[in-house]
């Protein structure tokens, strides 16, 4: 179990700073796709609930990476650090979308059940599990999101988490691309 302390403050700062760059990244991408820009639908209360649910999963993943990285070495550690940076960007984006919609972000959990990983393999299994939970969350949320721009934004994060799973599976000795449909069960 990880109880947030000082690192939480750093994560909060990182999340906030990444929110702006993540929002800019999506905005820039949209600018390149003016021909295909989705119709602007208003964000609804239900969307804010869904975004907060996804934020909770991202924060769980951030806690898992933060706790697990010290047990990893070499290329695995390098990959995990990169994935942590990306998870922070995801959280930043979700915070920006919640704020943009006029909603409020739920407080971070007081602690996260991460088990008791002792080895690098334990950590990889934990990270695989939290990434799969994120994928399940996005796949449940995307069809229920009202505005098209939210569905598209969430899908860009889902796809990145799917890439994380692919790398983690490879490190675990599993097929990196086991199925034609990524469902979170892999």
């Amino acid at each position: 179990v990880v109880t947030p302390g000082a690192p939480t403050s750093r994560r909060r700062l990182l999340e906030a700073s990444l929110a702006a760059s993540a929002a800019a990244a999506l905005a820039g991408c949209g600018a390149n796709r003016a021909r295909h820009r989705p119709v602007a639908d208003p964000v609804q209360d239900q969307d804010v609930v869904l975004l907060n649910d996804l934020l909770a999963r991202e924060r769980h993943a951030i806690a898992a990476y933060t706790a697990g990285i010290p047990l990893l070495g070499g290329t695995r550690r390098h990959a995990a650090v990169e994935f942590l940076r990306q998870e922070l960007a995801h959280a930043g984006m979700l915070l920006a979308l919640i704020k943009d919609s006029g909603g409020g972000a739920r407080p971070r959990a007081a602690s996260y059940d991460l088990g008791q990983p002792q080895t690098a393999r334990d950590v990889l299994l934990l990270l695989h599990e939290v990434e799969r939970a994120e994928i399940t969350g996005y796949l449940d949320a995307i069809p229920r999101m009202k505005p098209g721009r939210l569905r598209a934004a969430a899908a860009t994060i889902l796809a990145d988490d799917a890439q994380h799973v692919s790398v983690l599976r490879s490190e675990l000795g599993l097929s990196p691309t086991p199925a034609a449909f990524v469902t979170g069960a892999e």
Binding site: A22, R33, Q86, P143, R151, A159, Q163, T177, A180, V182
Partner: protein
């Protein structure tokens, strides 16, 4: 690409992009037709490159697995399209025989087309309204993203910053 023998990435990507224009943008049927067109180009290109004999055994193994994925995607999307009363687009013609100079060229071509397909899903997920079709499209977009990671790994083994280059996967058109 051998002159006159095949059509390169730019034209194949244009075929994918044209699928969006032809499909229209105002309905689930149109969105699904655009994604099916992208899958058709991918299926044809994987088939051609596997048949061309330019891939080594490890790369051919990856391509064979991904071809099966693309066929499954096309079948699932076509089933959704028919459920919603639409007709799938005709298979694109005139893609040549898939001749490329090297395995590296072949993998680059596939990577470019996978990214173009992801871009189609990114655009069309913003328009799809049907919940079941939306979920299937999202599952497929995630799979194509995994394909790009594996293809980049073939091009630059062990380079995680290339395999998973950014926090948000948009593809490229």
């Amino acid at each position: 690409v051998g002159p006159g023998s095949s059509i390169g990435e730019a034209t194949r990507r244009e075929l994918i992009a044209r699928g969006i224009s032809l499909a229209g943008t105002g309905s689930d049927v149109g969105a699904l037709r655009a994604t099916i067109r992208a899958e058709q180009v991918l299926v044809a290109t994987y088939e051609q490159l596997l048949g061309a004999g330019v891939l080594s055994l490890p790369a051919a193994s990856v391509a064979t697995r991904f071809l099966s994925h693309e066929r499954a995607h096309e079948a699932a999307l076509t089933a959704e399209l028919k459920r919603l009363g639409g007709r799938p687009p005709r298979r694109p013609r005139g893609l040549g025989d898939g001749t490329v100079a090297s395995e590296r060229d072949a993998v680059r071509l596939l990577l470019g087309l996978e990214r173009a397909a992801i871009s189609v899903y990114y655009s069309e997920l913003a328009r799809l309204r049907d919940a079941r079709a939306t979920r299937i499209a999202a599952e497929i977009m995630a799979c194509e993203a995994q394909h790009t990671t594996a293809l980049r790994e073939l091009l630059s083994p062990g380079d995680i910053s290339r395999a998973v280059p950014g926090a948000f996967v948009f593809g490229a058109r």
